[in-house]
Symmetry: C2
């Protein structure tokens, strides 16, 4: 796998160089100033066997304490019960209920499972769930129609298009078509722009990033003035987390697959957030003693000992990190449950805004 | 001045703490997740006399070479002559000319001077300049009308609202009102969002950031994989430069007034970009030997030796930096001239898009 990744990387490099050369040729006219978009392909630097487990016998950290494990579930439960109470109040005072519309295209099992979790969470707190399922080979026009009908439906306050979409559909165009006022995922460019710029308020903040900050705030981890390193820059997690951390006045460094010496950068982090998608890539020597680790990775690895034959692990080697960090999220059970709560919270916010304006 | 800045900072801190406490109280409901917006007040850490000059007798860098001085004017001239040729061609083939509309509110002398420079540059390359001047006390409705008339005018392809606006006008609202297709300054949230997200293309990139990258590309400075530290995070310069540097696959750290130990962070920079607004704040010991310095600051300081009684200097102590850096921009004359060229280039792009679509 490492060999394949390395090969892919070389291909990309080749591609990049020829693009750069092309760009250079036209340089004196109008060079591509936003640069060539390169996919972030991470190459794990260590033994592949580490992906399954790493030295689970280590239990205390370098200053003799066990790191605090940051659990998302109790926080999520607390938030959800408050959301539930708020919806009850909304129902009893104005007779209205928030509604969330989710559009699922195709038959990806992970996407189906995510949609199922979201719908179940909605029903638990009293949000009316709406779903549209479209076949894998649906046309862009059909998907636009589905978004449009949710955008216009007054019973629906939040619209989610479950990602990723099949390759023939233009994800960017579809996301831009969701009404910014119903964009509870926070992925619309106007909302991302408003998140990036201080002094502006996005209608919604992406749920995983909001969940990450929420987890830190609940655990009294100070963000302002801290060195935060976000490893990964995906549009869904890494990028908005970097932007949000900066809104909280952290000094943010974003590490990505083209960072030459990532472990050198991460060693300076007071708070490390990972969004890579490579199991156990971040090892103990990547961490400063006392760091707070928020592992946003959820990677499925083979596990013959489990009933399903696989289990979820993070981007950070938990067993090595727990002896260096002052606090670390569990995977699963860290930011994940709060992310769902944030989606519910965004939907309630959207409904409140709608009814405040009518 | 230092004393006033420190007092102001303490007031801000006090304000922040009480806001934070308030947020904490409501924390279990809906905390302000984009955080309190704190203005970046920089406190120079050294002798105030340094603001005028610092050790001008040092002339060679630590490896015995004088740093290359990156001049923007020759690059700007080159770009402008190409733009001029392109406009001639446009005129001769389709009989059309690009138009730039600039709105100036109030009587700030610096703003008047900037508008004058922009208009003069337009005329030099053949862009039709349009201006609207509104009085200091104009209403928001009057300003909206002016933007609206430029948005709708088919002869105008780019619309610029000269910033800053008088305090009673909501800058964010006005900027959002400029058509994203005519937003040649690149400050509209949709354009900023599209700049932040890989895979998307903003209609326009902010001119100073685009100028910074242009300067580096023309001077064969590699950006991909380099550690870039952007000091300052203003919406007009620092923020979009950080975003654009990341689009070019640099590992970007954004330093701001709440960064505890900025000189420690800047010492790791292969490329340092400054956008602070404090003369000579960045000293020699903030720099790694061989760093490339792009000084985007333009600070007016008293100079009894000059005819005007003042002169422009940057955020970086030039005399100390030139003996450590491998390359450094001159101030004035560095990114400034290219910034204007980028505005012209954005305007031509806007016109070309319009005529391509009609």
């Amino acid at each position: 796998m490492q060999h394949r990744a390395a090969m892919f990387c070389r291909m990309l490099e080749k591609g990049f160089h020829s693009s750069a050369q092309r760009a250079n040729k036209h340089h004196l006219r109008f060079p591509p100033l936003t640069s060539v978009d390169l996919p972030d392909i991470w190459i794990p630097r260590h033994d592949a066997s580490i992906a399954k487990t790493c030295s689970p016998h280590l239990k205390t950290n370098s200053i003799g304490q066990t790191a605090r494990v940051l659990e998302g579930k109790p926080i999520a439960n607390n938030i959800n019960s408050r959301i539930s109470a708020e919806i009850c109040e909304m129902k009893s005072t104005i007779g209205k209920t928030p509604g969330l519309g989710v559009i699922l295209v195709g038959g990806r099992r992970d996407s189906q499972s995510f949609v199922h979790i979201k719908m179940k969470a909605c029903m638990k707190v009293g949000i009316a769930p709406f779903t549209v399922e479209l076949p894998e080979d649906c046309t862009e026009a059909e998907l636009f129609d589905a978004v449009s009908s949710f955008n216009e439906n007054p019973l629906i306050h939040g619209v989610v298009v479950q990602l990723p979409l099949p390759k023939h559909l233009d994800e960017e165009k579809i996301i831009s078509y969701v009404s910014p006022e119903k964009d509870v995922d926070g992925f619309h460019p106007t909302n991302v722009g408003n998140l990036a710029m201080r002094g502006r308020e996005p209608s919604f903040i992406p749920c995983a990033s909001k969940g990450c900050i929420e987890l830190l705030l609940w655990n009294d981890v100070e963000i302002k003035g801290k060195n935060v390193v976000v490893v990964g820059r995906s549009k869904l997690v890494g990028l908005p987390t970097s932007l949000l951390m900066q809104r909280h006045h952290a000094t943010v460094t974003t590490v990505h697959a083209f960072t030459g010496n990532p472990e050198h950068v991460t060693c300076g982090a007071d708070i490390l957030v990972s969004d890579i998608g490579v199991p156990n890539m971040i090892r103990g020597h990547w961490l400063k003693p006392g760091v707070v680790v928020v592992d946003m990775g959820a990677n499925s690895v083979e596990d013959t000992g489990s009933l399903q034959g696989h289990r979820l692990i993070g981007d950070v080697c938990y067993e090595e990190a727990i002896v260096k960090a002052s606090a670390i999220t569990s995977v699963p059970g860290g930011v994940g449950p709060i992310t769902i709560s944030m989606l519910l919270s965004n939907t309630v916010d959207a409904a409140k805004r709608t009814y405040r304006n009518t």
